[in-house]
């Protein structure tokens, strides 16, 4: 516990330093302190997981009503490791990256405060502490969006984000207070032990799921995400995507799976349907997006949708009498969140580097970075492998466990349960495919091939700490992908904590993971050894046979004459997907032809423009906003500027309150 408290103290110091120190020291020391806080808190979480203890601390002061209470149980600690990794990487990156508006006093201090907020949410031990940490996280991230408030896009993003995050926080507050009132305690552990049921639990379930899902970017509450991520500064969007959205799913696991245990299974099926829609929607938009950060934002929606599928299916399976499969799913989601935190942080940070080196985030104008920014590109490749689900990278482990859990959930269930589980499985499969399209596009169009603009041609690799910050999550990705056993073993404890589920036979050790009776196993270390062995053999054989080989120029597909215009662009790469899913995406395509003067048969210029707007935003939110606006205009007549009228309103309300309350 001491280490955890020290971490919190260091994070507080980082805020103070960020607010007070002069420019150069500010960026360096505040971010170094934040990184140190991340290391300390992450270390405390790992220690708690390894020693199988649950450190906790409580003080009656600090917060009103119940005081502040910190508790590091297996679920919180599993999440905290991810969050700490993201915070550390983002803070280290900021040291070498922050300049201009994002190095100003408020920006640096707010970023440190945001880091503290995300670090505190998973260790909060009671409702008041949880809600306070949640609000700190939400408010500071909102303020961080406004750091560059002179840009209209940033203001509009902040407006959307503010409405969604505050509405979500209100729903969460309502739901958690209702649950606490029924359980007669505000301690999260106590509430989980008491178990909350009845009609109040349904209201609490709906409110908290809506609130947490909006933070996790679930459709149709996702609209803030593709706006906020591109507008925030790079380290902040990395923290938002890698840590904050994951905390939305953490909230669902903690409150809805852990506390509202008596909820009916069909509520979970509803969440599952929403999650499946969310994952597919995010993946589709990611596949068609050309702005790097927008692509990553939609890919966050997609990844969180997959996680939500896992949690919802786990809730349904547990209620439907298949706790083993449910526990496997929860372990899978926890691992997947860790993997997502690492690779998404890396990708966002790399995007920041690319944008600074080339001056653009538009994939259609990038390309050829593999030769000019070699180290960044190879690190990005690791992240992309993890996102796509290539074995030996972390993303694969989470996805594999989720599929194992869903498949196990098919056996011996009633038709309704089978249908729900199948829906999850199909959505997972389809989403994985579309994610692969998006990620291959990111790496292939953005980093391979030839440069498509002068900016991309002139790109230079940055040096120093920013590359270290990128390497940190890459190492974590590979470590988790190659030796997933220990992580699975500790995550299993979290699943056991969530309402007494037990994974019989889900064994994780250094060699790999084995899932009980179905005898299916994952042994990445063996795979790696096999791959290395095969490569060595191949190399030896190639050298042995090299004596008789004559070197000559191969047929190079006419490669020497290839120009940048002959290769795929991001738009053309995604065009088939966009065409197939045109009904969902509703793309706005515009082709303009200009003819030569002398002949109408010879075309001179052909411009093709294609843009994909968010159909949910225009179809669902615009009418609501228009309605609210019209109501506001009409209500303006009530306020005509007369002081007496306002005073009379006050008197009338006072009288009404007196009469109603008597």
């Amino acid at each position: 516990m001491a280490v955890l408290l020290a971490g919190v103290g260091v994070a507080l110091a980082a805020i103070v330093v960020g607010a007070l120190a002069p420019h150069r020291q500010r960026v360096l020391y505040a971010n170094a302190l934040t990184a140190l806080a991340g290391v300390l808190v992450g270390g405390a979480a790992i220690a708690a997981l390894v020693t199988r203890t649950t450190p906790h601390a409580h003080t009656g002061a600090l917060l009103p009503l119940a005081g502040a209470s910190l508790r590091l149980d297996a679920l919180g600690a599993s999440l905290e490791v991810t969050v700490a990794l993201v915070v550390t990487a983002a803070a280290l990156f900021s040291i070498g990256y922050a300049h201009g508006a994002s190095a100003s006093r408020p920006a640096v201090a707010l970023q440190a405060a945001f880091a503290l907020g995300v670090l505190l949410v998973p260790v909060a031990g009671d409702v008041v502490t949880f809600l306070s940490a949640w609000e700190a996280m939400a408010a500071t991230s909102l303020a961080l969006l406004l750091v560059e408030h002179d840009r209209p896009a940033a203001r509009s993003a902040a407006l959307w984000y503010g409405a969604m995050t505050q509405g979500g926080a209100a729903a969460i507050t309502l739901g958690m207070l209702l649950a606490a009132a029924v359980a007669h305690t505000t301690s999260l552990a106590g509430m989980a032990a008491a178990g909350v049921g009845g009609p109040v639990a349904v209201v609490a379930f709906l409110a908290t799921v809506a609130g947490f899902a909006s933070k996790a970017g679930a459709v149709p509450l996702h609209v803030w995400l593709p706006r906020a991520h591109p507008e925030a500064s790079t380290p902040v969007s990395a923290m938002m995507s890698g840590a904050m959205t994951a905390l939305g799913l953490y909230g669902i696991a903690r409150v809805d799976l852990g506390i509202l245990t008596m909820i009916g299974r069909w509520w979970w099926v509803g969440v599952l349907v929403l999650a499946a829609a969310s994952a597919l929607y995010g993946a589709l938009h990611a596949a068609t997006a050309t702005d790097l950060k927008r692509l990553l934002a939609y890919s966050t929606i997609d990844a969180m949708g997959l996680g939500l599928i896992g949690l919802a299916a786990a809730g349904e399976l547990r209620a439907g009498g298949a706790p083993r499969a449910a526990a496997t799913l929860i372990v899978g989601v926890l691992i997947a969140l860790g993997a997502h935190g690492a690779y998404k942080t890396l990708l966002f940070l790399a995007t920041g580097l690319v944008e600074r080196a080339t001056g653009t985030r538009n994939l259609d104008l990038l390309g050829g970075l593999a030769s000019t920014m070699a180290r960044t590109s190879s690190l990005v490749a690791v992240a992309v492998a993890s996102a796509v689900g290539v074995p030996l990278a972390a993303g694969f482990v989470g996805e594999w466990l989720e599929i194992e859990g869903l498949v196990a959930g098919l056996a011996g269930r009633d038709p309704g349960g089978v249908a729900a589980t199948l829906l999850g499985l199909v959505a997972l499969a389809l989403t994985s495919g579309l994610t692969a399209v998006a990620m291959v596009k990111l790496l292939g169009i953005g980093f391979l091939g030839r440069p498509r603009s002068d900016g991309a041609r002139a790109a230079r690799e940055p040096h120093g700490i920013v590359i270290v910050a990128l390497a940190l999550p890459a190492l974590a990705t590979l470590a988790l992908g190659i030796v997933p056993g220990p992580a699975v073993a500790v995550a299993e404890r979290a699943a056991v904590e969530l309402g007494g589920m037990r994974v019989a036979g889900l064994r994780g050790d250094l060699g790999g993971i084995a899932v009980g009776a179905s005898a299916s196993a994952l042994r990445p270390l063996a795979l790696l050894a096999g791959l290395v062995g095969a490569a060595l053999v191949f190399r030896v054989l190639a050298r042995a046979g090299a004596r008789g080989v004559r070197r000559t120029a191969a047929w190079a597909c006419g490669r020497r004459e290839l120009s940048a215009r002959m290769q795929y662009t991001a738009t053309s790469f995604a065009e088939p997907v966009q065409r197939v899913f045109a009904d969902v995406l509703r793309p706005d395509v515009d082709v303009t032809l200009t003819h030569e003067d002398e002949s109408r048969d010879i075309e001179r210029v052909l411009t093709y423009q294609s843009s994909v707007a968010d159909a949910v935003e225009s179809g669902l939110y615009r009418p609501v906003i228009r309605g609210a606006d019209a109501l506001g205009r009409r209500a303006r007549a009530l306020a005509n500027g007369s002081v007496h009228r306002y005073l009379a309103y006050g008197l009338l309300v006072l009288l009404a309150v007196l009469v109603v309350l008597r």
Binding site: A639, G641, H644, L647, V659, L661, R662
Partner: protein, 218 residues
Amino acid sequence: MTGLAGAVIDLAAVAVLVIGVAGLWRRDLRALVGLLRIQGIALALVAASTAATQHDVGLGVTAVLVVVVKAGVVPTLLGRVARSDPGARESAPFINVPSSLVLAAALVGLAVVVGAPLHALAPGRAAALAPLGLATVLTGYLLLVTRRRALSQVVGLLVIDNGVALMTFLLTAGVPLIVELGGSLDVLLVVVVLRALLGTMRARLGNVALDELRELHD
């Protein structure tokens, strides 16, 4: 002794309300300020009598404070404003005097009806009078809503404050001195600020009928 103090409390509490209603009746601004002064004295009497029955030194100090602020400093400050514009009258209130007196009667009735449960908060003779405080608050509010002159509105605000103070004296047998001190200082500050504001407004605009300031609202 207790009987005498009880009678004084009864009388003074009723006086606070009656003076509040009289504020609706008088249209001369200087007379209005005079009424406010008398109301302050009546309020102080309530506090002093309660202090005497309960042998509460803090409440006694509060009573002195009430006399100084509500019957002394504040009316004097407002009186200066009123004197600087001699003959100023509340020429045309939004609701004429007879109608506002009828309304005030209705509000007092309402206050007695809805204020009845207040007695349960602090059983005792004084607490039964608490609806008078509520009635004073409502009367002050009516003054605030229906009068055009800025000075009358300040008086309305102070009548509300006196009503709240009356209610606290009757219900809780006096709030802690520090709270009363804070409240009184707030009122004093408001009056000082408003007086400065009134002076500026008169210098810029020539008259102080708030009703005509409507165009500034955007």
